[in-house]
């Protein structure tokens, strides 16, 4: 059977990996290629690159870094950030990405998911959602979590699946950067609704958080950034711990 996946996420700004807390207060971490090597060697099942480049002029730095990583790392690569059109899909797929994650781009043009799924296949299209509770309801936020779109997250997830998204990334703004565990309530609500894989993001602080996530059965993969970047937790130790606790891992 297929394993649960551990996915480090690299937020790339102007060619460097950074990590913010609650999307603000950005800190510089390392070169994407160095980190990708480090994660590959320690057993990451997949890598996600988010392009948070501030200006259009610097976008080339991101694709250069991506190309370099794809030349040296042979596990699935997902790219997100600044994906608004089919041309953007083309741009990152040509640099060696295997999957492309859309977020604000799908909010601006909801037909993007369907068009991309038709052209590149469902397995290539990942719908990434930044979700926050507003008046007790799960709401979709855009622009890196700054703007409340008013869209109901459950409806948005279901629409995404129906349009051809092959996976969902559920990023809880409420738990992101706080390191108190994944947002199980939010993940449960979404995974009950869809049959495509759900990737949990936001809130991982220790290995027990991942065990709790997979035991709850509400995600196929766990995604995290800062705990891996700052070496608070090694992927190899995490996977061994999960495997010892009867969660199948690729060791």
């Amino acid at each position: 059977m297929i394993t649960k996946r551990i996915i480090p996420c690299l937020d790339v700004r102007n060619g460097r990996v950074v990590k913010g807390v609650n999307f603000e207060g950005i800190q510089d971490v390392a070169s994407p290629v160095e980190l990708a090597h480090f994660y590959n060697d320690s057993g990451a099942d997949e890598l996600v690159f988010y392009d948070i480049t501030a200006s259009y002029e610097n976008r080339g730095l991101f694709t250069d870094a991506l190309t370099q990583v794809a030349k040296e790392i042979f596990i699935p690569l997902t790219v997100g950030g600044g994906i608004n059109t089919l041309d953007d899909f083309d741009r990152v797929l040509k640099c060696g990405a295997d999957k492309v994650s859309v977020n604000s781009g799908a909010i601006k043009d909801p037909s993007l998911i369907e068009k991309a799924a038709k052209k590149y296949g469902d397995q290539c299209v990942v719908l990434s959602m930044d979700i926050k509770r507003v008046d007790g309801k799960f709401r979709i936020f855009s622009k890196g979590g700054r703007i409340d779109t008013g869209i109901d997250a459950l409806e948005w997830a279901k629409n995404g699946e129906n349009s051809g998204a092959g996976e969902l990334v559920v990023n809880s703004i409420d738990t992101d950067g706080v390191k108190q565990g994944f947002d199980l309530e939010m993940l449960q609500a979404i995974s009950e609704l869809v049959s495509i894989p759900v990737i949990a993001s936001g809130g991982a602080g220790k290995k027990e958080d991942f065990l709790e996530l997979f035991k709850a059965g509400c995600a196929d993969a766990g995604l995290a950034a800062s705990i891996f970047h700052f070496k608070e937790l090694s992927i190899a130790d995490l996977k061994k711990y999960l495997n010892d606790n009867n969660i199948e891992m690729r060791i």
Binding site: M1, I2, T3, R5, N40, D45, A70, K71, E72, F74, I75, P76, L93, K94, C95, G96, D98, G121, D122, Q123, G166, E167, S195, I196, P197, D220, R250
Partner: protein
């Protein structure tokens, strides 16, 4: 030199990069003379069967692969490229494959429990069915990265390794000098590279 056949189906960047990282000489090409002169051939493929089969046929590259298979040249089909090696596919209609390996390609849907998600996507274990030089650098239980919704059927005799996903999914198949891998060795980390290395040495 290994020729990676470019017939407009899928991104070949990772595949050529993975071979280069192993120090294996390779070239992405649709040039018939270059393919004929290669020591080995890889037939990649991502996308829909019907579209890929048509492209192979229209370009004449499908016929070339069959001719070269008959001369004993080692050939490796990957993912959809592996599925193309079979006689037929029932992916949205009925389509002819290259017929280099007996069997057909059918949907996972309806064959596996509804609790299992389709596509079969992620890391799954190889179980060995037969001994083969392709296994030189890997072991049973090594994980490979799969992404597919259709799978090879009626090919037990030609199955070297399978993965469990509600059914036994043929993962590596072989008929003489013709190999197929359902997963992506170029995306399966060090173990995937080990299989490509073994193929290059066959």
């Amino acid at each position: 030199m290994i020729a990676i056949i470019d017939y407009g189906c899928g991104n070949l960047f990772s595949l050529s990069s993975s071979l280069e990282s192993l120090g294996i000489d390779c070239k992405i090409t649709s040039d018939k003379a270059e393919i004929e002169n290669a020591d080995k051939i890889i037939l990649p493929g991502v996308g829909a069967f019907a579209d890929a089969a048509k492209k192979l046929k229209d370009s004449g590259l499908g016929q070339l692969v069959c001719d070269l298979a008959a001369t004993g040249k080692p050939i490796l089909g990957i993912c959809l490229g592996m599925q193309m090696l079979f006689e037929k596919s029932f992916e949205y209609g009925a389509h002819m494959g290259l017929g280099l390996i007996k069997g057909y390609v059918g949907p996972l849907e309806g064959q596996i429990s509804k609790e299992l998600k389709i596509p079969h996507m992620g890391w799954n274990k190889l179980n060995f069915a037969k001994a083969d030089p392709i296994f030189k650098y890997v072991e049973p239980g090594d994980y490979m990265y799969f992404v597919h919704s259709f799978y090879a059927r009626n090919c037990v005799e030609n199955t070297l390794a399978f993965a469990e996903y509600g059914v036994a999914v043929p993962a590596i198949v072989k008929n003489g000098n013709v190999y197929g891998m359902q997963f992506h060795p170029e995306k399966s980390g060090a173990k995937g590279l080990a299989l490509l290395k073994a193929f290059s040495e066959i």
